[in-house]
């Protein structure tokens, strides 16, 4: 009994924050909570959920490795009479008790608006992406869509940079190929922070503006102190984690909960 949480990674501050917030709330409300980490591997996530079912948890909190791919895990849990809450990444084609998460697409649009504003409505932009993660794909889609309103802002390059080191190399090489880049959008804090380093090592800090996504502490500090980092779309993992545990408790108590509990991302541009 209690809550079982299957999170998609533990090597990202965003998820560490969610896990911390959940643990703190579970402690405060005195409810058993177990967390397992799927390490971006859907079959590990399925195995984790199966193990939760054997252990007999009451509520499953899951941040799917993949919104479609989580289907069998969620169906198995539901078939075993377990209530399911999705966090951060929604599940497709299956109803869950509640979804708590950032609207990534909207966040991407906000990033585009900020970028256009910083560039004064015209300039060349590069993107660092991570094409196999859907929440990231939604951000990039939102960003591209958002820029459509600014015809003078042109996307000249898009490369993949999953880890910070890869993002750094990708940013360096894009800047080398396109020295007239004015802005870089990184799909996450890591990508943006790496891009900022690349900008400085290319000596382009007067020219290039970097915008990130996630808004963890390190990135917010960078926005405060580093003129290259002009802003970051901010998610609120602490709220998400707390809300997930509270919702789980309500479900355990038999209460009704809203099917969607969106958390609107903010835009952080410094103090």
């Amino acid at each position: 009994d209690g809550i079982g949480a299957s999170l998609l990674t533990q090597q990202h501050p965003f998820y560490i924050e969610i896990a911390k917030a959940m643990e703190a709330e579970a402690e405060a409300k005195d409810v058993p909570l177990e967390i397992s980490i799927a390490n971006q591997d859907l079959s590990k996530q399925l195995a984790d959920v199966e193990d939760f079912i054997v252990k007999g948890v009451d509520v499953l909190v899951i941040s799917p490795v993949d919104s479609q791919g989580a289907l069998p895990a969620i169906m198995k849990a539901k078939a075993a009479g377990i209530k399911v809450i999705t966090v951060d990444v929604p599940a497709q084609d299956v109803d869950v008790a509640s979804y708590i998460g950032t609207d990534n697409y909207a966040g991407g649009v906000k990033a585009a608006e900020l970028m256009a504003e910083e560039l004064g409505g015209s300039g060349k932009v590069a993107i660092i992406d991570y094409p196999t993660v859907q929440s990231v794909v939604a951000r990039i889609d939102g960003f591209r869509k958002g820029l459509e309103d600014f015809p003078d802002v042109e996307i000249v390059a898009q490369q993949t940079g999953i880890t910070r080191a890869e993002a750094l190399a990708a940013a360096q090489n894009m800047l080398q190929a396109n020295p007239d880049i004015d802005g870089i959008f990184g799909f996450g804090d890591d990508a943006a922070l790496a891009a900022a380093v690349a900008v400085k090592s290319a000596g382009l800090q007067e020219q290039v503006k970097v915008i990130g996504f996630d808004g963890m502490e390190e990135a917010r500090n960078a926005v405060d102190s580093d003129p290259v980092m002009v802003g970051v779309v901010q998610q609120f993992p602490d709220q998400m984690g707390k809300m997930a545990v509270d919702t789980a408790l309500e479900l355990m108590g038999g209460a009704e909960v809203p099917a969607e509990q969106p958390i609107v991302p903010g835009v952080y541009t410094g103090q």
Partner: protein
């Protein structure tokens, strides 16, 4: 004859003493610390979770026995799922999808085999390269997004049971028996051992070493494709990052089971036990809610200890 059989049993005991001990010790430990561990439901879980690694490891065992290595199996797992999903998506139906998926697996193995045997490239580097190539290919149809595969028969493989036992477990057991018999009792298996033991001597004894290599990489590709089918069936979808780094788990299972990376030594029985050790360990630590990073540490330590026990028990008695 009796003394022969006894000698055989003694050899078996000696051969598997170390890893069987490790497996039993793990099971005892987990059942003492968690009362739900020792249940039919949980053992079904373990077997299902371990199926993909075990089957891939069967194929890997052939490759390693030959003194080669196949690092591309993780990518083949992903390609297989994607081929299946795409063909189901075209509406061709289950049987053609299954056949073409298996054929794709064998074809990727064929590519590895030909590169290794005919161009004389080291299999390590060939399969590092094809690991990257196949991983790139898998993403082309969907641009990196997963492809759903809701074909009812496809899903049934991972979800249904036969005679009360999940089909996945049947598949593992049947493939185990087939691979074991082929390795231990056929001339093909014998030639594999001989070629792995001394390639040149095998060549001089009339064994077509190149053909062996090609066939065995095809077996490895085929086994990986079957793993890919099971995986995508369990997940209702083909993930482009499916099977990532499974090659290491498959190799670890084979080596835990006593397969020597220099070729010529190893058995399917050992590989199955090796895969079960990995499965029991993952499952048991989940049941105990061991935090993720500690799981990594414990897993590494258990592998070290199990291999050590294996090596030592062989030294002692050998």
């Amino acid at each position: 004859m009796t003394s022969n059989r006894q000698a055989y049993l003694r050899t078996m005991m000696r051969q598997y003493a170390g890893i069987v001990l490790s497996l039993v010790a793990l099971c005892v430990f987990f059942s003492l610390t968690n009362d739900r561990f020792l249940s039919v439901a949980n053992f079904t879980n373990i077997f299902q979770q371990v199926a993909v690694i075990a089957i891939t490891a069967f194929g890997m065992t052939w490759v390693i026995l030959l003194g080669e290595i196949d690092l591309s199996v993780g990518s083949i797992i992903a390609v297989a799922g994607m081929v299946g999903a795409q063909i189901i998506g075209l509406g061709w139906g289950f049987a053609p999808a299954l056949m073409l998926t298996l054929a794709a697996g064998a074809a990727m193995g064929l590519f590895n085999g030909v590169m290794t045997a005919k161009l004389l490239l080291p299999s390590f580097i060939v399969t590092v390269a094809t690991m990257s190539i196949f991983r790139g290919l898998v993403s082309l149809p969907t641009g990196g997004a997963p492809a759903m595969n809701m074909d009812p028969t496809w899903i049934a493989i991972g979800a249904n049971s036969f005679l009360g036992v999940p089909i996945i477990i049947w598949v593992v057991l049947v493939l185990f028996v087939v691979n074991h018999v082929a390795l231990a009792h056929t001339t093909f298996g014998r030639k594999t051992y001989l070629t792995g033991g001394n390639r040149e001597a095998a060549l001089y004894s009339g064994i077509n070493v190149d053909a062996m290599k090609i066939r065995i990489f095809m077996i490895s590709g085929l086994m990986a494709a079957i793993s890919g089918i099971l995986l995508s069936s369990r997940l209702y979808s083909a993930q482009t990052n499916a099977g990532m780094s499974y090659e290491l788990d498959a190799i670890a299972a084979a080596v835990l089971g006593g397969t020597s990376l220099s070729g010529g030594v190893g058995t399917m029985v050992g590989t199955l036990i090796g895969a079960l050790i990995i499965g029991v360990l993952n499952n048991g630590m989940n049941m105990l809610s061991v935090p993720y990073f500690y799981q990594l540490i414990v897993k590494g330590l258990v592998i070290l200890i199990a291999v050590y026990l294996d090596v030592r028990s062989k030294q002692r008695q050998g």
